[in-house]
């Protein structure tokens, strides 16, 4: 019996590539990612055999998870080049650019998302946040006003920050108070209110918001600095020294806290060393009985 293989002519041979395809690379990476092996998952995608937008999408996701935002931005950039109408990829690109500190570029990417899909409220929020970094406060404020009710809390927060940076203190405080009524434990709201009180030199407000923040977060450096500042302004040297002492324990690099601790201790010692007039009557009365 003749072997059929003998009849095979070279022109009939179909070449089967032994090189693994892109899909197998993606499958390997997804399996590794699901087991938490992100570095290895990324390694499985490093040398793609051909261009595939999904491969670059997965790669961008893994790079983002690893905190490699610049690399992730490059991955998503290649996706949007091949799929210009992919709003998700544009949005992820915008996030990566934002995390890389590329505020201007992130604004453009967010704007592209909104051009493709005006209902992307998160993109509007991201755009507002980047505009704040660029100090384009009027535009940021306008964007936060356009945010939907679904993102009311963060949008109000964005408005409050924009107003505060515009030195519109009263309006900013009103916005922050709305937020506190929704979430009394919002640390960043209280922290910004402390900064607002310092800016307007309203020591009572600085003290009140600092005390509120300290109750929520006993290690909050901002709260301790607010209370130390108020104590120093009001010549309460013991309290100032106490707060500064706590700050330097938490933040040994805080030069202001070291300096103010020394100032407060100096003032305490100076107060002790100042000679006081002797009260003759009390000497005659003998030692005080407690």
């Amino acid at each position: 019996m003749r072997n059929g293989a003998d009849n095979v002519q070279p022109s009939n041979i179909i070449e089967i590539s032994l090189q693994p395809g892109v899909q197998s690379q993606i499958d390997s990476a997804l399996a590794l990612r699901s087991s938490g092996r992100l570095e290895e998952a990324l390694g499985a995608l490093t040398d793609p055999h051909e261009y595939n937008p999904y491969l670059y999408t997965v790669r961008g996701e893994i790079e983002f998870s690893l905190g490699r935002f610049h690399d992730a931005a490059l991955s998503y950039f290649s996706v949007v080049q091949s799929e210009p109408d992919n709003a998700d990829a544009h949005y992820n690109l915008a996030l990566c650019l934002q995390r890389s500190g590329r505020w201007d570029a992130s604004c453009q990417a967010f704007e592209r998302v909104l051009a493709l899909d005006s209902g992307r409220h998160a993109a509007r929020l991201g755009l507002g946040a980047s505009l704040l970094y660029l100090n384009r406060l009027d535009e940021a404020l306008a964007i936060f006003y356009q945010c939907s009710d679904a993102l009311e809390g963060p949008a109000v927060f964005g408005k409050a920050v924009a107003l505060q940076l515009q030195h519109r203190s009263g309006e900013a405080e009103n916005a922050y108070e709305v937020l506190l009524s929704l979430d009394p434990n919002s640390e960043e709201t209280l922290s910004n209110l402390i900064a607002l009180g310092v800016e307007t030199n309203d020591l009572d407000r600085v003290r009140d918001y600092s005390q509120r923040l300290l109750k929520i977060s006993p290690q909050s450096p901002v709260a301790l600095q607010g209370l130390a500042m108020v104590a120093l302004e009001r010549q309460d040297h013991h309290a100032a020294a106490r707060y500064c002492d706590r700050i330097v324990q938490l933040m040994p690099d805080c030069i202001e806290a070291w300096h103010n601790l020394r100032v407060a201790l100096d003032r305490i010692l100076t107060a002790f060393s100042v000679p006081k007039p002797i009260a003759v009557g009390s000497m005659l009365a003998g030692p005080e009985v407690k």
Binding site: P53, Y54, T57, V58, E61, F64, E83, N86, D88, Y91, N92, L95, Q98, A122, L125, G126, G128, A129, L132, L151, P154, F157, G158, V161, Q164, L165, S186, E188, T189, N192, I194, A195, V198, V222, Q225, G226, M229, L232, H238, A241, R242, D245, R246, V248, Q249, E256, A257, W258, H259, N260, L261, R262, V263, A264, L265, D266, R267, L269, T270, S273
Partner: protein, 117 residues
């Protein structure tokens, strides 16, 4: 001593100036830096993870067609003398009228080719 009983790296206190020495002005406190932050906003900005390869939406054939409404049955020799003929041609947008057939499908209402004006 205050709450921290541990040795502190605070610089030694400036001694009280004695009589005859230069009178130093007492040191003033330094201002703390209170920054305005908006980290809260980023908590609402999460990466959109894909669930699989993106499926491209199939592009539907355009329902509109452009057909010339100017007579174009002119002989070629005459057309060549009127070189501006193509530029002066008027175009009309024609929306084909569709009717529902008995089996629930759609078919063009006119089977006879549209007569050019």
């Amino acid at each position: 001593m205050m709450g921290n009983p541990q040795p502190s790296p605070v610089a030694p206190l400036i001694p009280t100036p004695s009589h005859g020495s230069i009178e130093l002005a007492p040191e003033q406190p330094r201002e703390f830096h209170f920054a305005v932050t908006w980290v809260t906003l980023f908590a609402h900005l999460d990466l959109l993870e894909s669930s699989g390869p993106r499926v491209q939406a199939a592009s539907a054939p355009p329902p509109l067609a452009l057909v010339p409404v100017a007579p174009s049955a002119m002989p070629a020799d005459k057309r060549s003398s009127q070189d501006a003929g193509a530029e002066t041609a008027a175009w009309e947008m024609v929306v084909p009228k569709m009717i529902r057939t008995t089996d629930g499908d759609f078919a063009p209402a006119e089977t006879v080719p549209r007569r050019l004006l």
